[in-house]
C-alpha cells in the first residue's frame, strides 16, 4: 500500500485528534470538526449554520427543533474553553440565511456576543451569509491569510493552491467494514488544501467522492472521519461512494 507523500501522523489516542502538515504548517484536526493552528493559536471552524432550524420553520417547511443554535454554540464554547485560542475564524455560512441573526433567541445572541468579545474573531463570508451581522463584534473578511495558509469559505477553483483551508462542502466519507457501511463527517486534504467538515448541529454532508468535491482535490487525497471519540484516517481508495437518495 503506497501512501501519499503528505502522510498524516497516526491519530493520537489521547484527545482523539490527528495532525498533518499543509504547506509546511502544522495543523491539528479535532474530533469536534474544528482545526487548530497551534503555533498561531488560531481555531478554525466551518459552516456553523446558526438558525437553520428556524429558517425552515419560517418558510413553513418543517418544525425542526429550535435547539440547533444553542447546541452549536455550546460545542463552540467548550472548544474555546479547552484550547484557549487567541483568534477564532469562522469559515463562512456561519448563519444559515441573512434573516438568521434576527431570529436568534436573546440568550443565544448574548452568548455569541460574549464568545466573540473574548477572542480576535473573524467572520469569513459565505454564500449563505454574504454579509455577516455588524452588531455581533469581530471582523468580516472574504479571505484571511495566516502565515503561509489562506483561509476562505469555498475552495478556489482552477488552481492548485499552496496551503488553503476552506469549508462550504460539508464533506463526509463512508467506509465499508464487516459488511456494514459507516459514514461520518470528515476532514479531507490532498496536502495542498484542507476542507473542513460542517460544525453546525443540523448540517448534513456531501460525500468526498462526489465529483463536485473530488474535482478540487489531487487524486491521492486522504480523509479523517469523525468517530464518536476520535478521528480515523483513510486514503481515498478505501472510501465508499454515497448510496443514491430519492
Amino acid at each position: 500500500m503506497s501512501l501519499p507523500d503528505h502522510d498524516m501522523e497516526p491519530a493520537a489516542p489521547v484527545d482523539g485528534s490527528a495532525s498533518c502538515t499543509l504547506a509546511g504548517a502544522r495543523i491539528v484536526a479535532d474530533p469536534s470538526g474544528a482545526i487548530l493552528l497551534r503555533d498561531a493559536r488560531v481555531l478554525v471552524v466551518a459552516d456553523l449554520h446558526f438558525e437553520k432550524g428556524s429558517a425552515f420553520a419560517a418558510r413553513g417547511d418543517a418544525w425542526l427543533p429550535p435547539y440547533d443554535t444553542s447546541e452549536t454554540l455550546a460545542r463552540l464554547e467548550r472548544l474555546c474553553r479547552h484550547h484557549q485560542p487567541q483568534r477564532v475564524v469562522c469559515l463562512g455560512d456561519s448563519f444559515h440565511d441573512l434573516g438568521g441573526p434576527g431570529r436568534m433567541a436573546a440568550g443565544d445572541l448574548a452568548r455569541l456576543r460574549r464568545l466573540v468579545a473574548r477572542h480576535d474573531w473573524v467572520w469569513i463570508t459565505g454564500n449563505h451569509d454574504p454579509a455577516p451581522p455588524s452588531d455581533l463584534g469581530g471582523m468580516a473578511a472574504e479571505a484571511l491569510d495566516v502565515g503561509r495558509l489562506t483561509l476562505r469559505h469555498e475552495a478556489a477553483t482552477g488552481m492548485v493552491p499552496s496551503g488553503e483551508i476552506s469549508g462550504h462542502f460539508h464533506p463526509k466519507a463512508a467506509v465499508r467494514t464487516r459488511g456494514r457501511r459507516i459514514s461520518g463527517r470528515c476532514f479531507v486534504t490532498d496536502g495542498h488544501r484542507l476542507i473542513l467538515p460542517a460544525f453546525g448541529a443540523f448540517t448534513g454532508g456531501l460525500n468526498v467522492l462526489d465529483p463536485a468535491l473530488a474535482a478540487l482535490l489531487q487524486p491521492a487525497f486522504r480523509v479523517f472521519v469523525i468517530g464518536k471519540q476520535r478521528l480515523f484516517a483513510y486514503p481515498h481508495h478505501q472510501l465508499a461512494p454515497e448510496p443514491p437518495r430519492l
Binding site: 418544525w63 425542526l64 447546541e71 467506509v175 467494514t177 448534513g204
Partner: protein, 789 residues
C-alpha cells in the same frame, strides 16, 4: 346483518374468506336504496373502505352486476390515488351513491371545506379487511376519520368485515362509535369445514438452519403438479425469488408458475393477478402481498414454505384456498429447518384447536393524531375541546389523555417546543371566537401532499438496461453492491451495473446462483402464541412422537448433551469455541425482541469485563460471543437492563432513529419527498438522525420522542415483549456450562455470517478496519478467521 341494519346498529361480521362477506356488507344498503325508489335522494349513501386499492376497484366491479340486475339507477365509483383529478373534483360536487376508497383517500376528502356537504347524508360506512387495519397506523388514521364522519353524519352506521381473529371484542371496540364497544352487534359467520393441513415430511435432509426451504422444492413441485391451482406462500421477498427460480429450474412439465411480491412493478403484479383470476396459472409464488385481496375461486392448494410465524396468519393464508365453505381448504406446510419443524407443528396444532395469536393492544399513534388534527383544521376552524371529545371516541384513542392531546395540538400549531420559539411561524391561528384556523392555503396544500401513514424506506427503481422498470428495491440493499454482483429479482438473475439518479441499472446475469443474498423485505417475528406452544413441545418429549427421525434424533441428542428449555423458564448455555466464549439463550421471543436483548446484554457484558464481540438473533434463539466466559447469568438477565441501559442504548440505536424518522414524517415535522421534486426540494431533505440527537438532548420529553418511544415498545425493538419475558423468567433461569456447542445451539451458530451480525460500537468497527489494513499490509495476505471452523 339485515336486522342490525334495520335497527340502525353498527355491525361487525367475522367470517372466513369466501363467505360472501363483502356482499353481506353491501346488501342492506342496496335494499335500502332500492326501496327508496323515485324518492331516492342524491348524495353519498354508503362509503366502502379497503386497505387495498385493487380491492376497492374489484368490489366496485362486482357491485355493477347486482345493481344492473336490480335495475337500480345507482352510481358506484372508486376514489383512490389513481383516480384522475377531473373525476375527483366531480365526485366532490356530485358524490356517487356508493363510493369505494382507501383510508388515505378518506382522510384527504375529510380535509376539504366541503366535507360536511359530501358526507352529510351518509348512511353507512363499510370497513373491509378490518383485521388488517386495526393494529397499525393506517387503522389509527381510519379510526380518526370514522370519528370525524360520525360528527358530520351522526345517523351513519358502521359495518366492519373481518377474517377470523383471536379477540373479536377488540375489533368491536375499534369499530364502535364510542370507542368502547357499545352499539356494535357482532355476527360470526359459519366457519365452514375444518382445513386439511399437512406438514411436509421431506425425504431430503432437513437443514439445520436457513429459511429458504430449497431442499424440499422437488417435493413441492410434485405437489404443484398434482394440484389444480396453488399459491406457494413464503416469508420474504428474497425467498420468493429463490423459490421461484428453483421451481422453474426443475419445471420439466412446463407448469405456468408466476411470481408476486410487493417490490414488483404494479403492472406486473396486476398481470399476475389477472392471469390467476382467469385460471391460467398453475401456481404463484407470493409473499404477504397476496395475504389480502381479491378472491380467486380456482385456488385449491396453499403451500407455505418456511414456518408461518403466527397461527392467525396461517389461517388467513389457508383461507386463500378453496372459497367454498362446504369443502375443506387444503394446505401443506414446508419447514425450512429443524426449529421451523417445531414451529409448523405448533401452528397446525393451534389452527386445529382454534387458538389464534393475540395482539398486544397499542394505543393510537400520536404522530397519526397530529396528522389528523391538521387535516381537520384544513377543513375548517377547530375547537380543541370538541375535537378532543371526537378523537376520544375513536377506539385506538379511547384512553388518550387531554394532556397528550393538547401537546399534539400544540405541536401542530407551533412545533410544540418548550421554548416556544416558533410562535411567530404558527401553522394554526386562534381567531377571535377562540377557534383555530390554518395560517394559509399552503398549509392545506402541504397537508395533502403528506397525508398517509406509510413511510417507505427510500427505494430505487430496478431497470433492465435503460429500458423497462422491473420493480423497486430498498436503498440499503444497493449500498453493498458493486458492478458485476448478481442478484435475483422479478424472477430473473440480474447483474448490477450502476446506480443512475434513482435507478438501479442492471443487465441479464450469467450463471445460476445469485451472489448477493438479497433483501429482507417483509419478515415478521414469531408470534408469542406460537412461541409458547414451541416451548411446551420442547419441554415434553412425549410430544416428539410425531416428528420424523432426524428431528427426534436432534432433540434426543440435546437431552443427552444438555437439557431442554422448560415451558416457562429460560435455558442459557455457555461454551467455548475456537478462542471465543459463546452464550446461547433460548428465549423464543422473535427476532426483534432478541436483537434488542442482544444490544442490551452486550452492553452489560462490556461493563462486566466479558469483552463481548458480537451477537446474532433468530426467531428462537440469541447467541452472543465474547472473549471471557459469562458467569452469573441471573445477574446478566436481570430486569433492570430495561432501565438505564435501555435509555442509553436508545440514544444511539439506529432502530430508534428509523422509528423517529417515520414518526417525524407522519406527524408532519419533516415533509415527504415526492417523485419529481427531489431536485427542487433537496434543501428540505434532512438527516433525521441529527434532529433526533439534538431533540433528545434538549427536550427529551417532546411529543414526537414520546411517540417514538411508544412505537419502539411494540415495533422494531419489541421492548414490551422483552419486558414480559424478563419478568417471566426471573428465578427460572437454567444455566448449563458446556464443554462444547449443544445440538440445539448449532442452528443459531450457523446463522453467523448469514444474518446481520451486530458487533462493537462504531468506533471499534472503524478501528478494526484500520487494524485489518495494518495486518494486511504487514502479512501481505488476507488473514481472516472464520466464525465456525
Amino acid at each position: 346483518m339485515l336486522d342490525a341494519a334495520q335497527r340502525g346498529e353498527s355491525a361487525l361480521l367475522i367470517a372466513p374468506t369466501g363467505g360472501g362477506k363483502t356482499l353481506a356488507g353491501f346488501l342492506p344498503s342496496l335494499i335500502e336504496l332500492a326501496g327508496q325508489g323515485e324518492a331516492r335522494a342524491e348524495g353519498l349513501h354508503t362509503l366502502y373502505i379497503s386497505p387495498l386499492k385493487a380491492l376497492a376497484v374489484d368490489i366496485q366491479r362486482n357491485l355493477e352486476q347486482p345493481i344492473a340486475e336490480m335495475a337500480l339507477p345507482l352510481r358506484a365509483e372508486t376514489r383512490t390515488g389513481d383516480t384522475p383529478q377531473s373525476k375527483r373534483q366531480r365526485q366532490r360536487r356530485q358524490p356517487p351513491h356508493l363510493l369505494m376508497t382507501t383510508p388515505e383517500s378518506l382522510a384527504l376528502l375529510l380535509s376539504y371545506e366541503d366535507a360536511p356537504q359530501i358526507f352529510g347524508d351518509l348512511r353507512c360506512v363499510i370497513v373491509d379487511e378490518l383485521h388488517a387495519l386495526e393494529d397499525n397506523k393506517r387503522g389509527d388514521l381510519l379510526a380518526l376519520g370514522l370519528s370525524r364522519l360520525s360528527s358530520l353524519a351522526p345517523q351513519c352506521r358502521r359495518v366492519g368485515l373481518s377474517a377470523t381473529v383471536a379477540e373479536p371484542e377488540r375489533l368491536a371496540r375499534w369499530l364502535s362509535p364510542d370507542g368502547k364497544g357499545g352499539g356494535v352487534r357482532t355476527v360470526t359467520g359459519d366457519s365452514g369445514a375444518a382445513p386439511d393441513i399437512k406438514i411436509l415430511e421431506t425425504q431430503a435432509r432437513l437443514p439445520w438452519s436457513g429459511h429458504m426451504g430449497v431442499h424440499a422444492l422437488p417435493e413441492v413441485y410434485e405437489l404443484l403438479r398434482d394440484a389444480g391451482t396453488a399459491i406457494v406462500f413464503v416469508n420474504t421477498r428474497a425467498q420468493t425469488e429463490i423459490v421461484f427460480q428453483e421451481l422453474w429450474r426443475i419445471n420439466d412439465d412446463n407448469l405456468a408458475i408466476a411470481l408476486h411480491h410487493g417490490s414488483l412493478a404494479v403492472e406486473q403484479r396486476r398481470k399476475v393477478e389477472a392471469a390467476m383470476a382467469r385460471g391460467e396459472l398453475d401456481a404463484v409464488v407470493a409473499t404477504s402481498s397476496l395475504d389480502l385481496g381479491v378472491d380467486w375461486a380456482a385456488v385449491d392448494l396453499v403451500i407455505q414454505v418456511g414456518a408461518p410465524k403466527g397461527s392467525t396468519r396461517l389461517l388467513q393464508r389457508i383461507g386463500r384456498a378453496n372459497h367454498r365453505l362446504d369443502q375443506p381448504s387444503r394446505a401443506v406446510l414446508v419447514p425450512a429447518n429443524r426449529f421451523e419443524m417445531l414451529e409448523c407443528r405448533a401452528a397446525v396444532d393451534a389452527v386445529t384447536e382454534g387458538t389464534l395469536d393475540g395482539i398486544a393492544e397499542t394505543p393510537g399513534g400520536l404522530d397519526v393524531l397530529a396528522q389528523h388534527v391538521l387535516g381537520v383544521a384544513c377543513a375548517g376552524p377547530v375547537d380543541p375541546a370538541a375535537l378532543y371529545d371526537e378523537v376520544h371516541k375513536a377506539g385506538p384513542y379511547a384512553s388518550l389523555s387531554r394532556r397528550d392531546f393538547d401537546d399534539v395540538f400544540d405541536f401542530v400549531a407551533t412545533g410544540g417546543y418548550a421554548l416556544g420559539n416558533y410562535e411567530k411561524f404558527r401553522r394554526l391561528f386562534q381567531t377571535a371566537d377562540g377557534l383555530f384556523t390554518i395560517a394559509g392555503p399552503n398549509v392545506a396544500r402541504d397537508y395533502r401532499m403528506n397525508v398517509g401513514t406509510i413511510v417507505e424506506a427510500p427505494t430505487l427503481k430496478v431497470r433492465m438496461g435503460r429500458g423497462r422498470v422491473l420493480g423497486e428495491v430498498e436503498e440499503h440493499f444497493v449500498n453493498y453492491m458493486t458492478e458485476g454482483d448478481t442478484f435475483a429479482f422479478a424472477g430473473r438473475l440480474l447483474e448490477f451495473v450502476e446506480v443512475r439518479e434513482t435507478d438501479v441499472i442492471t443487465r441479464p446475469g450469467r450463471g445460476d446462483a445469485p451472489a448477493v443474498p438479497a433483501y429482507m423485505g417483509g419478515r415478521l417475528p414469531l408470534s408469542t402464541h406460537l412461541a409458547v406452544r414451541v416451548r411446551a413441545t420442547l419441554a415434553e418429549p412425549k410430544r416428539w412422537r410425531n416428528f420424523s427421525g432426524q428431528v427426534r434424533e436432534w432433540l434426543d441428542a440435546q437431552l443427552w448433551r444438555s437439557v431442554m428449555p422448560s415451558a416457562d423458564g429460560l435455558l442459557v448455555e455457555t461454551f467455548p469455541r475456537g478462542n471465543k466464549q459463546y452464550l446461547v439463550a433460548y428465549c423464543f421471543e422473535g427476532r426483534n425482541a432478541h436483537q434488542t436483548l442482544g444490544m442490551l446484554l452486550t452492553r452489560r457484558m462490556e461493563r462486566m469485563g466479558l469483552k463481548p464481540l458480537g451477537f446474532v438473533a433468530t426467531d428462537y434463539v440469541l447467541a452472543i460471543w465474547s472473549l471471557e466466559a459469562a458467569a452469573q447469568v441471573d445477574q446478566l438477565f436481570a430486569e433492570d437492563m430495561l432501565g438505564d441501559d435501555l435509555e442509553a442504548w436508545m440514544a444511539e440505536s439506529s432502530m430508534l432513529k428509523r422509528t423517529f424518522r417515520n414518526v417525524a414524517v407522519i406527524a408532519g415535522l419533516i415533509q415527504r419527498r415526492h417523485p419529481g421534486e427531489e431536485k427542487s426540494r433537496r434543501q428540505v431533505t434532512f438527516n433525521s438522525d441529527l434532529i433526533y440527537d439534538v431533540l433528545r438532548s434538549h427536550e427529551p420529553n417532546h411529543i414526537l420522542l414520546r411517540a417514538t418511544r411508544a412505537d419502539a415498545a411494540s415495533g422494531l425493538t419489541d421492548i414490551r415483549r422483552l419486558a414480559d419475558m424478563l419478568s417471566r423468567i426471573r428465578g427460572r433461569i437454567t444455566h448449563r456450562e458446556l464443554e462444547r456447542v449443544s445440538p440445539l445451539a448449532v442452528p443459531v451458530l450457523l446463522e453467523i455470517g448469514r444474518e446481520s451480525v451486530y458487533g462493537a460500537a462504531i468506533d471499534e468497527l472503524l478501528g478494526e478496519n484500520a487494524e485489518d489494513l495494518v495486518a494486511e499490509a504487514m502479512t501481505g495476505s488476507d488473514v481472516k478467521e472464520l466464525p465456525l471452523v
